[in-house]
Symmetry: C2
Subunit: 342 residues, 2 copies
Amino acid sequence: MQLDERKKKILQAIIRNYLETGEPVGSRTISKYTDLNLSSATIRNEMSDLEEMGYILQPHTSAGRIPSDKGYRFYVDAMMEEKDREIEEIKEVYLEKEDKMDLLLKQVAKVLAQNTNYATMISAPQYHRNKLKFIQLSRVDEHQILAVIVVEGNVIKNHLISVDEGLSDETLLKLNILLNTNLNGLTLEEINLGTIAVLKQQAGIHGDIVSEVLDAVAEAIRADEDLEIYTSGTNNIFKYPELADNQKASELITTFEEKQSLGTLVQETLADENNTGIQVYIGNESPIQSMRDCSVVTATYELDEGMKGTIGIIGPKRMDYDKVIGTLKTMMHQLDDLYKKK
Amino acid sequence: MQLDERKKKILQAIIRNYLETGEPVGSRTISKYTDLNLSSATIRNEMSDLEEMGYILQPHTSAGRIPSDKGYRFYVDAMMEEKDREIEEIKEVYLEKEDKMDLLLKQVAKVLAQNTNYATMISAPQYHRNKLKFIQLSRVDEHQILAVIVVEGNVIKNHLISVDEGLSDETLLKLNILLNTNLNGLTLEEINLGTIAVLKQQAGIHGDIVSEVLDAVAEAIRADEDLEIYTSGTNNIFKYPELADNQKASELITTFEEKQSLGTLVQETLADENNTGIQVYIGNESPIQSMRDCSVVTATYELDEGMKGTIGIIGPKRMDYDKVIGTLKTMMHQLDDLYKKK
DNA sequence: TGTTAGCACTCTTTTGGAGTGAGTGCTAAC
DNA sequence: GTTAGCACTCACTCCAAAAGAGTGCTAACA
């Protein structure tokens, strides 16, 4: 069977109505709602077809229809396709300038949650091409050396090293020069056993310190493994009865608290390089089990070359996709502006 | 009216039974439950007295009794009083050694949540007596200077400073010496306008850099204002019907997500210096509005001199106080052991 | 005087049946 | 191809009756 123009119109009308009300939509409603001038009986026939095709379904025999995942998918795709989607009205999404990255990210999550009334998450940018930029050892007190490691992208890591006997300023200077000369500009892969052996040999009796510094360097460079994720507006899920029953809410809350599994969503989004930068996961399309009754809209942001992160908005399947996508886009622009000004 | 021995026994029996079942307790149940060998009629008379005294209350006329906040308070106090509370059985609370503080804290929260089936929170230790220990400026590249600030307790803070023209190694060395000589060992209060003026004057044309470093120092020392709080097991609240209705659950979840207000709980606990280190807040006794239907058990831990933090367990009023307090104590010991071994 | 049996009473919860309303599917006519 | 009409389905609401848990009170007992 074909999805002709009329069926499309009816399907869209059903979905739009359902998005608003959250109640199954009957044939009479559509008959009055649209400008098709068809009787409810005709609509019923069409709806019967649409159901057969899998776009809509009936919660029970004598109820109206609600969209299926396939129906939502059609709707979202159609919406995204109208790519001449005029400059989306700049909704009031205001970010205040924040000098600390984590505060900025928390703020983004919060502002989005407040604007959309859905739950939100944002991952801190992951750094790629991580080269070592600078190492500095300094004496903090008699028995402690502080190693400061700066990685490209200005990620800074500190590491304290305990030493038995004090080191002279001279030794410290030598070690500093040794480390910087040999390591700067290298990536984790480039620091191989050869480099390490040379370093240790040259360090002589201070080989232990070099080892410890190298461990810290390794950790600094692959620090993006445990990626930081901030969430906001988790409580919004209670605004949607279809998510608010104890079982589902509990699972969702757990997912949001143990940010871990949200990571898979981030990976998925970053991996899937599509054109617009906005992706929609409906129901089971989402990689996260507990979100099978949700829709997830994600966007990838890029602050600086290689510094990419993911923003996600999680709500019921009948979320206001139009508004969410608009808000997300606006937010991206704001982030861009903010970051470039800095 | 007096709370004689028999009344106490009956009150405890009521509370214990209610803790288990969560259902109002009737006179017949108590008559069979206890070893008092009293008929239900007698119990009824006693219950009537207890209600008049405010220890228990009736949800409605023809229902059994449930403990009031005052009743819980009596129960908890009585429990805490048996201070010869034998070495509480070491429940299996296992912490794995973690080198990173934040991971350790997250683990503590998680383990507690799993063991008790309640929601938990833990605040990162707050540092007091914050003296400046060490400052180090180093050049990262042509236009950036990295300031590393170490505060007593080995809290480290990094701050990047942009400079227009490059600084010579010599200048940097001078600045380092200048800063360290004048600032080390001082607290925030001790760095006054006088010190600042002297510093700036001596720094000459590099006064800007000194200002920026001072700002960073100030921030490092009072960093404990935005204290870090980790939570776990928020979803456990769904296990208790009296907390699981949407309205309450939503409020609680919000409290846990916006860790901010949990801070007041931490402050409260740290301020109230009592003997055992364990405190119980029942219902409205808690400083947090959204926890008026909960009980909160808190403990203060101290890893090192002046490094204090708070652990909190949040559950329904009918929580298993005995077990919670036992588990908390065990956890404190484990933390002690772990930290001393390191 | 404290304890108990007995009974009327209260109030919640469960059950089931009747009624209502929204909506469908089918058929026959236009 | 479209529509009016009608029988039918099913969730939901309402109500009344019944069941069940528990109380308070009274009178009797040791």
